[in-house]
């Protein structure tokens, strides 16, 4: 984004609120909404990728080189779906700040 949203004047907004820069939602870090945080227990993980498939955002992705899953906490809202779906309890949900 050229300017942070809270610094754009009314004279500068795009007509009709059109987004001319595709994918600029990535500039908005929804991870700040999180109150609970998923913690990855690598030793239990069977690499089924279910968490990666089920994440409603794109906060989990496979790290092919190191054969593990990685979390992008900038976009993880802490919904807990990954933990719920994990067949081997390899994702623990903890209170944020713990």
């Amino acid at each position: 984004m050229t300017k942070p949203m809270d610094q754009i004047n009314w004279q500068e907004v795009e007509p009709g609120g059109v987004i001319t820069e595709p994918g600029n939602a990535s500039c908005y870090h929804t991870g700040t909404w999180r109150s609970e945080k998923p913690v990855y227990l690598e030793e239990k993980c069977i690499r089924c990728w279910r968490c990666y498939i089920m994440c409603p955002d794109a906060a989990i992705s496979p790290d092919y080189e190191n054969n593990r899953m990685v979390w992008n906490y900038d976009y993880c809202k802490g919904c807990g779906i990954c933990s719920y779906e994990c067949p081997v309890d390899a994702i623990e949900i903890v209170e944020e700040g713990e």
């Binding site: 949203m5 754009i8 009314w10 795009e14 007509p15 009709g16 609120g17 059109v18 595709p22």
Partner: protein, 387 residues
């Protein structure tokens, strides 16, 4: 100049939409619809108009199709009335806020309940704050000309807003009038190709209709209001060129026999013709009465209104809808607000007339003027109500 024909106003409007080479027509073709879309569907089916006619499952969908169509860069038209507009309402606001140019022919009719199909302005007043350009028409020729003007203004890159043509249900939509048609060449000369500000196209990807956080919502609203108010310049210029082309000249505020008038009748739409007959009659009786017709309802031409109303002693507003539980009716409310801070201002009387198709004759208009001038309080009168 094209030929002059006797034709139903709705059919003439459809012919105008055809001459504008409209790309997409989306409408829900059932009561309270008029003949506009019926005739357009025939034109498309017969191959006279190369357009997509989308017969949707509801008015909500009709307006949604129009939004998608305008977003894709197509010249877009729809028509509706009363309950149909009510069902559209959610998307009506979205069309304007997303700056999607399109033209709507609104056959002005009452809202339920009780169920009514007759003329008043309740439907359009429901969406007066949606951010559309609202134009009122007095007769069939004005409706026909207004279609070309509406597309021209809506699609102007400085405007890019939807335009609503307010056409009184039955008193205009279903009557046969002599109308001077435009030629194809005139339409092509007057109406340039539609070049949208942004459009949904893979060559240049944009997102439309995105979420607006509290940090940006206010700025978007301010920008919308500003462009709506500024659109008046384009509206005036388009009327000026229309005048050069046809010899018919339109203004945001028009007057009839206002010279030396102490009392001004203020009205919008087809009731103006009735009121002008009443003015003729009252002038014959030596009463100093004139008529002010408002053609442009949004953006409200505030300066023109101030100028024309300031010299009068009394203004009698013929409002065609109610604002239940409010101080007065929509048009009166605006006029009182516009004039309140003026050093010299007339008394503004509110006469609500012709609701739900109740007939208003020239004698009724004269009676309303007499009633208004004899009143001492300034609320509103529901003219003709029994009991």
């Amino acid at each position: 100049m094209g030929k002059r024909v006797g034709i139903e106003v709705s059919i003439a409007a459809a012919e105008a939409v055809g001459l504008c080479d409209t790309d997409v027509v989306a409408a829900y073709p059932i009561t309270p619809q008029t003949h506009v879309v019926e005739h357009l569907s025939e034109m498309v089916a017969n191959g006279h108009l190369d357009a997509e006619f989308v017969p949707v499952e509801s008015e909500h969908s009709a307006m949604s199709v129009c939004c998608g169509s305008a977003a894709a860069g197509a010249r877009t038209f729809t028509a509706t009335a009363s309950q149909g507009l009510a069902l559209m309402a959610e998307i009506v606001f979205i069309a304007a806020s997303m700056r999607l140019p399109m033209v709507m022919f609104l056959s002005n009719r009452a809202l339920s309940a009780p169920l009514s199909i007759w003329n008043d302005h309740s439907d359009t007043m429901m969406v007066r704050d949606a951010g559309w350009i609202h134009v009122f028409c007095e007769n069939g020729q004005e409706v026909y000309d207004a279609v070309f003007h509406a597309f021209r203004v809506a699609e102007d890159p400085k405007v890019s807003l939807p335009v609503m043509l307010n056409v009184d249900g039955f008193t205009l939509t279903h009557v046969i009038e002599p109308i001077e048609f435009w030629t194809k060449e005139m339409a092509a000369k007057y109406l340039p190709r539609f070049k949208p500000l942004n459009r949904l196209h893979p060559d240049k990807v944009v997102s439309m209709g995105a979420f607006g956080m509290p940090e940006i919502y206010l700025e978007q609203k301010m920008a919308h209001d500003h462009v709506l108010i500024q659109s008046k310049d384009v509206i005036l210029k388009a009327w000026e060129e229309l005048g050069q082309l046809t010899g018919r000249h339109y203004k945001p505020v028009e007057t009839y026999k206002v010279e030396g008038a102490e009392t001004l009748i203020f009205a919008m739409g087809s009731i103006c013709e009735t009121a002008s007959m009443a003015v003729d009659h009252m002038r014959e009786q030596g009463k100093k009465v004139g008529l002010v017709k408002l053609r442009l309802w949004r953006p409200l031409p505030m300066d023109d209104i101030r100028k024309v109303l300031a010299p009068a002693k009394d203004v009698v507003v013929l409002d065609r809808s109610m604002s239940l539980g409010a101080a007065n009716a929509p048009v009166t409310s605006e006029l009182r607000a516009v004039m309140y801070h003026e050093p010299q201002r007339p008394k503004i009387h509110c006469m609500i007339a012709g609701l739900g198709g109740r007939d208003v004759t020239p004698d009724d208009v004269s009676n309303m003027v007499d009633m208004a001038l004899s009143e001492s309080t300034y609320g509103y009168h529901l003219y003709g109500v029994r009991g």
